[in-house]
């Protein structure tokens, strides 16, 4: 609840919209190094009540195949009950589940990218799921705000 209050007041004070997106994507730059940002991301995902299901180490696969890349990971997460609700009600969204964040380093800073899940709400009919997708979007903003 405190997070919600802080996030809402911050958004109101900063005079920016809730969904400040880049064409359906949410992007944030953390001034932390990759390991620090990754740790902060995993911590805040948990603090927001989500379960981290897997970290895909894309950079490892690329490097082993002989390609140059800086640190590049995909973090998968979700709340089991919510994932099941979406699967049950809107099975066409299954390929987009669970939620994920791409995190990659850029020098001494770190970039984070996620899909604006509220965009998916246009694809669904169930109002509960629509609301859920909007909340996921707000949670991602809040999670990114913590990583900063």
């Amino acid at each position: 609840m405190r997070r919600l209050v802080a996030a809402l007041l911050f958004m109101a004070w900063s005079n920016v919209s809730v969904a400040d997106n880049h064409g359906g994507l949410i992007m944030h730059r953390s001034m932390q190094t990759f390991p620090e940002a990754m740790l902060a991301l995993q911590t805040t995902i948990g603090e927001h009540g989500y379960k981290l299901s897997r970290v895909q180490r894309v950079d490892i696969g690329l490097t082993k195949s002989g390609y140059k890349t800086d640190k590049y990971r995909v973090v998968f997460f979700g709340k089991p009950s919510e994932i099941r609700a979406v699967k049950h009600s809107e099975p066409q969204l299954i390929p987009y589940l669970p939620m994920k964040v791409v995190i990659f380093s850029e020098g001494s800073e770190t970039l984070l990218v996620a899909a604006d899940t509220s965009e998916y709400s246009k694809l669904v009919k169930n109002q509960h799921i629509k609301d859920l997708l909007v909340r996921w979007n707000n949670d991602i903003h809040s999670i990114f705000s913590d990583v900063k």
């Binding site: 809402l8 005079n15 994507l25 730059r29 897997r54 195949s65 390609y67 066409q92 390929p95 970039l111």
Partner: protein
Amino acid sequence: MPFSLRSILKPGLLLLASLLYYSPAVQAAPSGKLLYGMHCASCHGHNGKGGMGVPLALDSFQGSVSDDYLKKTIRFGRPGRVMPGFTHLSDAQIKAIVKHVRSFSSATPLQDSGLLVSGNVKRGKELYAQRCASCHGANGEGGKGTGVTFSRPRDLPIIAPGLNNSGFLSAASDSLIKSTLMNGREGTPMQSFLKQGMTEQDIDDVVSFIRSYETRTATKTPQKNPDEKAVIIMDSPHDLKTTIAQVKSAAVAKNFRIIRTQELEQGLVEKGKENKNEVIVFFCNFETLNKVLAIDPRLGLFLPCRVTIVEKAGKVQVMSINPRYLSALYNNAELDAACDEMYNTYIEIIEEATL
């Protein structure tokens, strides 16, 4: 549903935030630094040193553009070149961002004369082909590599802008283009063409040719095909186990490596309690992965490739994201071909698996 304090407070807080958001007192004093941090820093860097976006702190950049150019660039963006148009920001907010951007450099901003340049378009076309096309593209489409960050190998912090871009043409006045051609931009490959032997008349001709893109081939915002579905779904005539095996076999036949096969709920629920009838096959061709991440590293959001196989009430379906549907999210025209290729690959794999 249980009645809780939270259920009352949450809508109340949303209302409070909305009231604050639309409050004239708040609207009256936008913070450029804060707005920049929210909207611009992810691409341009907190200190304007660049990344996916132009290095705004570069003195030669700041000295060669006017405030009006920056404002219009923020407002209209660069269709198809990653930079979005911030149509939802107020004029006061954009002005505040520009003021903050100006704090990155002590260079004196270009004072735009507003004068229109009148040159020979035909001659300008010839000069453009000789002097400009190698960096800006034969048709003014700009340098390749839009969307690339320093997470990937990269030679320069700046990519030659797309001169035929409708956003660029809206933002850049004739005198701004002329000034850039005459003076160049120190610290970038853009040289002074006066120093390279061109006359002012030559430069006027090139400016007129660039301006003529407005009526010929200016790029527009990539439009999402309204008929494009968000997902690719096909029914399988086989059982779940056979379909999974067929998906893997089809992916391998397309030169992909199977990374892993897992239940969708793996890692989310207690081990052993996953729904066994929802399985994801992850596969990757690292050469292709490297290629698309070099076009736009944000595409990793939908990579590595994955196909989900679901059995429900005895019916097996194979599904994946639709890359064509997603490409419009990125405002990056360079991605379109890659997304088309990915789309065709998904279709071929899923068709093969469901034969």
